[in-house]
């Protein structure tokens, strides 16, 4: 039978229980809801058909009918009327009143701030309706704004009276899933699976009231569970915090309704209703100071007092009434709301979304035309979509307009602070110390320059900010470039004091000179690192990363600025070179093939290795040339020294090991020209020799270096000279670069590039984030 029914999902045009089905309004897990015309009465009704899938479940059916009958007994203006329940043509159905109007949740979504007056009127009606149901011993279990219907006259009607719940409850001993949107309004005891009474409904009323008042759910969370647990655990929020204009008694009432323990709440719906009435009357009184109390209010108060009964009485009453039902119920009911979104309502029940707090305005004095609020607006799906799109673009623009300028200022600040720090530190610069030594030494100086402390402090703070910016999603991508920017700015300040900050005048002349390749290198490297460290790269990003890596390697080659190629391809250097190439290929492979079992560290490590290898290879050329020159020089001197037959014993032991090869400088017989000269004289002499032998290797700028080389040779022989040559060669490019920087403001250019790159990454961050959110 079930199969048959599923084959004809629509019943439109058929007749059920004297009602002609007109149109399908909604479909839910429980079944479908149809608009229908009652033929005999000639009025529009609402017919809910139990899902054919559930008709085989005897218990479910039984409960569906029992519960519906119980509600049918209820006749209350604030509860949707049930006319008929039964089974026809194999369908279980409920016929109920058709409400022309909308749900409270829709109303709130359309009008962010409803007037207090309207809200209170609606909720008082809800409370009256609930009271009637509670008196019958029926707990709704799923009070939420989307279960409160408002007809065109502005009258509240409660729907979906525990029907879904009851059936749900019997969905076997195993499993229901996915607690639906109602988690926003669930009572703590319900969420914990404890015994329920009518006070659970009051909690939900409180939570709904909170939502309607503020436009926000009382608790928000990552997921349903989170929200549910907040209902159990978190302190009750104060609605007045979000809607400052509301009276104190109302916020207190909401908080009392939402008390964690049922005994701390209002005990009955009637009690709540009475409290509302009284508080409003008092307020009225306060406003119209001096005028007399409305007697009508008073009398209704008294009446209420008499009718009020305690919870225990209520429970007993309910127990008696429900003893029959209870016997059929399982002892393992599920009390949580079902997925059933399309309830009995003629509406599409969208899960309500939290509203932007900024959009909640204070209640306006002018009472909105009540009729206008309740009228059902034309379906604006397209309009809604457009509005959402506009909101996204708006958010993006907001991000770009606010966050980007902040970031740009931040990058400039980083550059400025570190540039000045470097500038101050440059007082302690030592020309021929290595790069590293010059970078670090200023911080260990015995005397500090004025303001150095201040700028060091600022620098530390800026670094802290950079670290912090890594935590901000928009900026995290740019963090690497920010670090590099800080570093480069510091170097710029340190090594090019005569270049004014951000002076770019000479840049264009030098854009494609080797001196600038290091700039490009650093930028490309920063980009590569940033792309590589992106967590989920797309293929395009992978390709970009790979391309940047290749660029880095190429630039590393160029920027090492060795116009002198390796003169003699020593096998080791060749191996080194090919190892470097291989490592590069592997790195690129890692970056392109997104199998990241070794994370990003591995490719970066290999990348550095590759760069190092290539660097060493290039440097080797210089070393070779220098070595040749020095060898030629030494030979030259030896030629002049040929007559020396047997070397005499060493005069000074400090000059080296006795068995090292004898050098002409230490000849004891004083026949060697150089050895008798003073150091400076010897240097000058040898320099002239060098100029003849190797005109390109050392120029006038390098005399100090040259003398150092000779001193090393003098003291330590050939091997010591070689070491010195390596040291020299390895620091040379940076040293040169430094010199170049002073004349063509390469550092400034580099800083600018880095700033642009990091800002670019920042923009990317903003864009990607917004897309994800959408």
């Amino acid at each position: 039978m079930a199969q048959e029914q599923s084959q004809q999902p629509s019943l439109v045009g058929q007749e059920i229980s004297g009602c002609e089905i007109l149109q399908k309004i909604a479909v839910g897990g429980m079944g479908a809801v149809y608009k229908a015309r009652h033929k005999a009465l000639d009025r529009i009704v609402c017919v809910k058909i139990l899902s054919p899938a559930l008709t085989n479940d005897k218990k479910a059916v039984e409960l569906f009918l029992t519960e519906a009958r119980a509600i049918a007994e209820l006749e209350h203006p604030n509860i949707v009327q049930v006319y008929n329940v039964g089974r026809e043509k194999g369908y279980y159905f409920i016929v109920m009143g058709f409400i022309e109007g909308q749900t409270l949740s829709q109303l709130v979504k359309r009008n962010k701030t409803l007037p207090l007056e309207t809200i209170l009127k609606l909720f008082e009606e809800v409370l009256l309706g609930l009271d009637a149901a509670h008196a019958k011993g029926i707990i709704h279990r799923d009070i939420k704004p989307s279960n409160i219907l408002i007809n065109t006259d502005g009258q509240a009607k409660i729907v979906d009276f525990g029907i879904a719940k009851k059936v749900d409850k019997e969905k076997g001993t195993t499993k229901t899933t996915e607690l639906a949107g109602t988690a926003y309004f669930i009572a703590p005891e319900q969420a914990l699976g404890r015994e329920l009474d009518t006070r659970a409904d009051l909690y939900s009323v409180g939570a709904s009231l909170y939502y309607v008042l503020t436009g926000q759910f009382p608790y928000n969370g990552k997921n349903t569970i989170d929200i549910i647990q907040k209902h159990i655990n978190d302190p009750v929020p104060n609605p007045a915090a979000l809607r400052p204009g509301m009276p104190a008694w109302l916020s207190a009432a909401v908080q009392k309704l939402m008390a964690k323990k049922p005994e701390d709440r209002f005990q009955t719906a009637k009690e709540t209703y009475v409290y509302f009435q009284k508080a409003r009357a008092e307020e009225q009184l306060r406003i119209q100071k001096g005028s007399s109390i409305n007697l009508g209010d008073n009398s209704s108060l008294k009446l209420v007092q008499e009718e009020k009964f305690s919870t225990t009485e209520l429970q007993r009453k309910r127990q008696a009434e429900k003893s029959l039902k209870k016997s059929t119920q399982s002892n393992k009911p599920s009390l949580l709301p079902s997925v059933d979104k399309a309830a009995v309502l003629p509406v599409t029940a969208n899960a309500a979304k939290p509203v932007d707090p900024s959009s909640i305005a204070l209640p306006t004095a002018s009472e909105a035309a009540t009729k206008g609020i309740y009228s059902n607006p034309a379906s604006g799906a397209l309009e809604h979509a457009l509005r959402q799109k506009a909101r996204w673009v708006g958010g993006l623009l907001k991000d770009l307009l606010i966050k980007l300028p902040i970031f740009i200022l931040f990058t400039i600040g980083v550059g400025y602070v570190f540039y000045h720090l470097g500038n101050i530190c440059s007082a302690g610069i030592i020309e021929h110390d290595g790069l590293l030594a010059n970078l670090i030494n200023p911080f260990f100086a015995k005397t500090f320059q004025p303001q150095q402390w201040l700028y060091m402090l600022l620098g530390v703070v800026t670094l802290g900010l950079i670290f912090a910016s890594a935590a901000v999603k928009e900026y995290s991508r740019a963090t690497v470039t920010l670090f590099l920017l800080a570093f480069v700015s510091y170097m710029a300040g340190l090594f090019s004091p005569q270049v004014p900050f951000l002076q770019t005048g000479h840049i264009w002349e030098f854009l494609f000179t080797p001196q600038y390749y290091l700039c490009y290198l650093v930028v490309a490297f920063a980009g590569a690192v940033a792309v590589c460290s992106t967590y989920n790269r797309t293929i395009l990003q992978g390709a970009l990363g790979g391309a940047l890596v290749i660029l880095v390697v190429a630039l590393a080659y160029l920027s090492s600025h060795l116009s002198i190629p390796p003169a003699e391809h020593v096998v080791q250097f060749q191996i080194l070179f090919f190892a470097g190439l291989f490592a590069t290929v592997v790195a690129v492979y890692y970056l392109l093939n997104r199998e990241e079992r070794t994370s990003v560290i591995m490719p970066l490590f290999i990348l550095l290795l590759a760069m190092g290898c290539l660097w060493v290879y290039n440097v080797s050329g210089l070393v070779q040339t220098a070595k040749h020159t020095s060898e030629a020089l030494v030979q030259n001197i030896d030629v002049k020294n040929l007559f020396r037959e047997a070397p005499a014993p060493l005069p000074e032991e400090d000059y080296g090991l006795p068995n090292r090869p004898k050098s002409p400088f230490v000849a004891k017989d004083n026949t060697n020209e150089v050895s008798v000269m003073e150091d400076q004289q010897a240097h000058d002499f040898l320099a002239s020799q060098f100029a003849v032998l190797a005109p390109n290797a050392f120029d006038g700028e390098n005399t100090a270096l040259f003398s150092r080389l000779l001193r090393r040779y003098y003291k330590g022989g050939q091997s010591n000279l070689n070491t010195t040559l390596w040291e020299y060669a390895l620091t040379l490019p940076l040293h040169r670069f430094n010199q170049n920087a002073q004349t063509n403001s390469a550092y400034t250019f580099l800083m600018l590039l880095l700033m642009m790159l990091s800002v670019g990454f920042c923009v990317c961050g903003i864009f990607f984030k917004s897309e994800e959110e959408e």
């Binding site: 899938a53 001993t173 195993t174 499993k175 914990l192 393992k332 599920s334 797309t538 997104r594």
Partner: protein, 275 residues
């Protein structure tokens, strides 16, 4: 390449009061795979959901192994092959259930739990959603590997309920995650090395409602030398005796030392696994 052999056993039972068995189990020595799926009790077609879950999972793993299906490159590239395999399979299974559930009223709202374990390269890779469980018996100690996706468990995790309270709670049966309910769901993915002598137990909630963890452990320890199938039947039988309110399913996987193979067999095996 696998360096051990695995013995499999699976039993599923309707229980004492249910009208139909909505559980499905699967074991495959070819794929080194064991799966338990427990269809949603009250929902219309729990047995169909669990059947789809189990068969699509196994079929997908098989297709990936034979190369008939390629894992998309951009599918969670950070994970290992086994993890991607089983996760892709589970996702496909979920999509299959979801689309079936959407296709007809009869299937609407059907869902299932899924706990599957794939043994490859001395590693057990488990995918898990719902309240079925995976236990590991190692060195005579039984450990629950998976965490139930039930509201009660969530409450316990946050300290809102004690374990004792939760055992009697009405919300024990409310799952926070299940297959077929949503288009995209989050699976738990677990990976751990296995050793010789380990026993992996996959079961639906019917089993552990009838037998406590200690009882299961005791049974497994006592049955070290009984055949695995017998042990499996024993577990289901005992649980049925104690409770029997629900379908009971149990899958056992035992890690055995590798068999002695001739060198040709070894060679064949090597090429089979490496190709």
């Amino acid at each position: 390449m696998q360096t051990f052999d695995i013995e499999f056993a699976a039993v599923t039972d309707i229980g004492k009061i249910r009208e139909k068995n909505e559980d499905n189990v699967l074991i495959s020595s070819d794929l080194s795979l064991g799966v338990v799926a427990d269809g949603m009790g009250g929902h219309s077609a729990g047995e169909i959901a669990s059947n789809i879950a189990v068969s699509v999972l196994a079929e997908t793993v098989r297709k990936i192994n034979t190369g008939a299906l390629k894992i998309p490159d951009n599918f969670l590239p950070k994970l290992s092959l086994s993890e991607r395999k089983i996760l892709l399979a589970a996702n496909l299974a979920n999509a299959a259930i979801y689309s079936t559930a959407q296709s007809a009223d009869t299937y609407r709202m059907m869902g299932t739990t899924l706990t599957g374990v794939l043994l490859e390269d001395n590693l057990a890779t488990a995918v898990h959603v719902g309240d079925s469980r995976l236990y590991l018996l190692r060195n005579d100690k039984i450990i629950q590997i998976t965490t139930d996706h039930s509201l009660a468990m969530e409450h316990i995790r946050r300290g809102l309920l004690t374990k004792a309270e939760a055992d009697h709670s009405k919300i024990q049966n409310i799952l926070t995650r299940a297959m077929g309910i949503k288009k995209n769901i989050e699976f738990d993915l677990l990976k751990f090395p296995v050793h010789e002598g380990d026993i992996l137990l996959l079961c639906s909630d019917g089993l552990y409602k009838g037998l406590s963890e200690e009882q299961i452990g005791a049974l497994l320890r006592a049955g070290r030398h009984t055949p695995l199938v017998k042990l499996c039947k024993q577990l289901v039988h005992d649980s049925n005796m104690h409770d029997g309110q629900d379908n009971i399913s149990c899958v056992l996987l035992k890690i055995l030392p590798p068999q002695k193979l001739s060198w040709t067999q070894r060679l064949k095996r090597f090429f089979k696994h490496s190709c």
